[in-house]
């Protein structure tokens, strides 16, 4: 069993209005040091396979097929072993 954490982020070239709104709010809280905020998505998957490479392959595949839209988003995947799986 492996845990895969998939981060989905907007391409840098794409305006990310939510992050822009949050940055404005941080400005009103006087955090002027924060120059950029970009929001993204995070998905945690548990994948029941024996090999790490197989878990990585599946995670990459689902990120590409469903979790991210390549027109506007990039993704990255982190895979680690799971000791005690979460019940679904």
């Amino acid at each position: 069993m492996f845990h895969a954490r998939i981060f989905v982020t907007r391409r840098p070239s794409i305006l990310e209005p939510e992050g822009r709104a949050i940055k404005q709010a941080l400005g009103t809280l006087d955090y002027d040091e924060v120059t950029t905020v970009r929001m993204g998505k995070l998905a945690d998957l548990e994948i029941d396979v024996a090999e790490r490479s197989e878990a990585e392959r599946i995670a990459e595949e689902v990120a590409e097929k469903l979790l991210a839209n390549p027109v506007m988003e990039d993704f990255s995947v982190e895979v680690s072993p799971v000791e005690t799986p979460t019940a679904a």
Binding site: P17, L66, L67, N69, M72
Partner: protein, 234 residues
Amino acid sequence: MALRFGILVFPGSNCDHDTEHVVANVFSQEARLIWHKEEALGDVDVVIVPGGFSYGDYLRSGAIAQFSPIMQDVVRFANDGGLVMGICNGFQILCESGLLPGTLLRNDSLRFACRWTHIRTEQTSTPFTSAATPGQVLRIPIAHGEGQYMADEDTLDALEANNQVVFRYCTADGEVTPAANPNGSARNIAGIRNAAGNVLGMMPHPERCAEAALGSEDGAVIFESLLKGTEVAA
């Protein structure tokens, strides 16, 4: 003979019955609602992917609906040259399915926009707009939170070069201006077709303005175009 419309229904669709009403009661054509779990469209001439919030807009608008069983047959139908029209969430689903290029982002205002707009008909040589006059301005409502059409510059240039931009947001006089753009769409794009010309996606709702009682009949021209097209074929 009546034209046979298949109207898809996903969990969260909410313009399916409006569309059925317009097709069946305003234009006296055959309308059939098709549940997304169906695997085949059956005998239909036109498929409409209606507006709504399929799967609660989870993940991205239209992202989950693209994998509903019926969508495989819609892709086959479209690739065989069948007429497919996506309205609002239907447009988002067609983009997610790869039947149309680009995608729809959150409105630049960050607000849900529910109001009347004007759109200019940029192409009349399509099965969806053949009854319109070139440049005809339609008064038509929008109702969306994620309607900002976006694609990379190369894709946008290709859409223009191939005459695939069918509608643009404009003023009541037909001027395409930034102020007339309700959601920040690239190049004021409100609707596009695919390269082959048989798939249309648009954010505004023609089914909500096809009867005088609803404040505008301008959307009727799209349904009239579809009827006209099949008369030519017959």
